[in-house]
């Protein structure tokens, strides 16, 4: 069973429907106890970093995810804000500590607005690093749907599974052991996105 964490941030329905479309049992989980029986854990999220961290802290999600994912080794997928929360800190509105599963931070795009509009909204190509599990079966130049004003900066480039270029390269996806995350929305990226979710589900842990 795939557990989709409901901490009050964002569009959970699309994530749920995408997994169901792949023929998997998925459930939106409103309390941390629901993580225990999950085979895979998904952290979606749209909104502001500090609000999201406050919600995760308040409801006991941080401890439960630490136990099930970091210590228990369950396959984990963060999406969009759910990727950024894995960093050590976020910079949206105020400096705010994150989950600190991945070394690095989250920064707003710094670009010439005449050339590059922010938010970065729409379909963009990504460049997966060699033999990246999430992108198996996808050809070069595969596009995914992004909608974000902030992006992750990884201290350890070995954590980066794919890059996207918007004025400069930034991490489009990360992987560290059983922890996967995408800045784009696989559940909104039509066939390419479904393929990424399928690849994630095929991973059963170390």
């Amino acid at each position: 069973m795939i557990a989709i964490i409901d901490y009050g941030m964002g569009n959970l329905l699309s994530v749920l429907k995408a997994f169901e479309h792949l023929g998997e049992e998925a459930r939106v989980i409103a309390t941390p106890a629901g993580l225990a029986e999950a085979t895979h854990v998904v952290l979606p999220g749209v909104g502001a970093f500090p609000d999201a961290m406050a919600a995760l802290n308040k409801n006991g999600w941080v401890d439960a995810m630490q136990r099930e994912v970091v210590e228990g080794g369950k396959p984990f997928l963060g999406v969009c804000l759910g990727m950024q929360l894995l960093a050590e800190f976020g910079e949206e509105n105020v400096h705010c500590p994150g989950l600190a599963w991945i070394r690095g931070g989250v920064k707003r795009f710094v670009l010439n607005p005449k050339q590059y509009k922010v938010p970065h909204v729409g379909w963009n190509e990504i460049t997966p690093v060699d033999d990246s599990l999430l992108f198996r079966g996808l050809g070069p130049g595969a596009t995914f749907y992004f909608v974000h004003s902030y992006h992750m900066i990884c201290e350890d480039t070995a954590d980066i599974a794919a890059y996207c270029d918007y004025g400069y390269p930034f991490p489009a996806a990360i992987r560290r052991g059983n922890i996967f995350a995408t800045q784009f929305h696989p559940e909104k990226s039509q066939d390419n996105g479904l393929k990424v979710l399928e690849n994630f589900l095929a991973y059963r842990g170390a």
């Binding site: 964002g10 569009n11 329905l13 699309s14 429907k17 995408a18 479309h21 749209v46 909104g47 502001a48 609000d51 804000l81 607005p113 005449k114 590059y116 509009k117 922010v118 938010p119 970065h120 909204v121 729409g122 379909w123 963009n124 190509e125 460049t127 595969a142 596009t143 749907y145 909608v147 974000h148 004003s149 890059y163 270029d165 918007y166 390269p169 929305h185 559940e187 909104k188 990226s189 039509q190 066939d191 390419n192 996105g193 479904l194």
Partner: protein, 260 residues
């Protein structure tokens, strides 16, 4: 091509105007014709490679609002692509309901003009990338531009360019710019105003109103500098599909997504 030359794709977005659960389309926001079942329309556009969908509900009564939520939720069950939804959005609860139904972005026109602080609050609460400022405008007979609220029926003493600047300050993540006088006429976009707004604001501009041919699409990107085009009549009433348009645009040198 090096990584640095890659660009964000220009987007083609079918725009579905909804009235009491049906897709409709008019001319200059009047004389609406029925063009089908929105969930079926959405399914077809999804299969034809549309980049996103926009649903704008013009159903007058608030009681029938659940029809919109239901249409979005049913579309979200089978179309794994981004949706913007709007029409009569007046409260944070309206925004939340649309997002819960499966919308990714919510567009607001009238409530943003009447209560600008509402837009600011919504952008803070849901993230600016969630909020789309919908701007309906007319070029008046004296050549001046004015914005309109209430489905194109109420003129507001504001210039669209100035209002788009205000919307950006209020925190919207995109602007949906629609020419009322060109809507449904197939005479082409208002390229001057589109370009003026697109060049002036830092957020992406989705231009709409008047696209009736492939050449109008290319103009919208090349001369109008739009990040995306929202299209009604061309897709509803001709045999042009998103994928045919993408092939044409690619041939015209516009960087669009084709066949993925």
């Amino acid at each position: 091509m090096t990584a640095g030359e890659r660009m964000l794709k220009k987007r083609l977005i079918p725009k579905l105007l909804l009235k009491e659960g049906r897709t409709v389309k008019g001319v200059a926001f009047q004389d609406l014709r029925d063009v089908g079942n929105p969930v079926t329309n959405a399914r077809i556009y999804n299969a034809q490679g549309a980049d996103e969908l926009i649903f704008l509900d013009i159903t007058a009564s608030q009681e029938k609002r659940n029809i919109l939520y239901d249409i979005i939720a049913r579309t979200a069950e089978e179309c794994f692509m981004p949706f913007t939804a709007g029409g009569g959005v007046r409260s944070l609860e309206d925004v939340r309901q649309l997002l819960l139904a499966g919308a990714d972005k919510v567009s607001v026109n009238t409530a943003a003009v009447e209560h600008p602080e509402f837009m600011r609050e919504a952008a803070q609460r849901f993230g600016r990338q969630c909020m789309v400022g919908a701007v309906d405008f007319k070029k008046e007979s004296n050549g001046e531009y004015r914005i309109y609220t209430h489905g194109g029926t109420v003129q507001v003493e504001k210039d669209p360019l100035a209002w788009c600047h205000e919307l950006q300050e209020l925190g919207v993540g995109e602007i949906l710019l629609t020419s009322i006088d060109r809507d449904g006429t197939n005479t082409g976009l208002d390229l001057d105003l589109t370009r003026n707004v697109a060049d002036a604001v830092d957020v992406p501009v989705i231009a709409s109103g008047g696209v009736g041919s492939l050449a109008h699409l290319a103009e919208g990107f090349k001369d109008g500098h739009a990040s995306a085009l929202a299209v009604g009549s061309l897709f509803h009433f001709t045999d042009q599909s998103p994928i045919k348009c993408q092939f044409y645009l690619k041939g015209e040198g516009v960087d669009v997504r084709v066949g993925q």
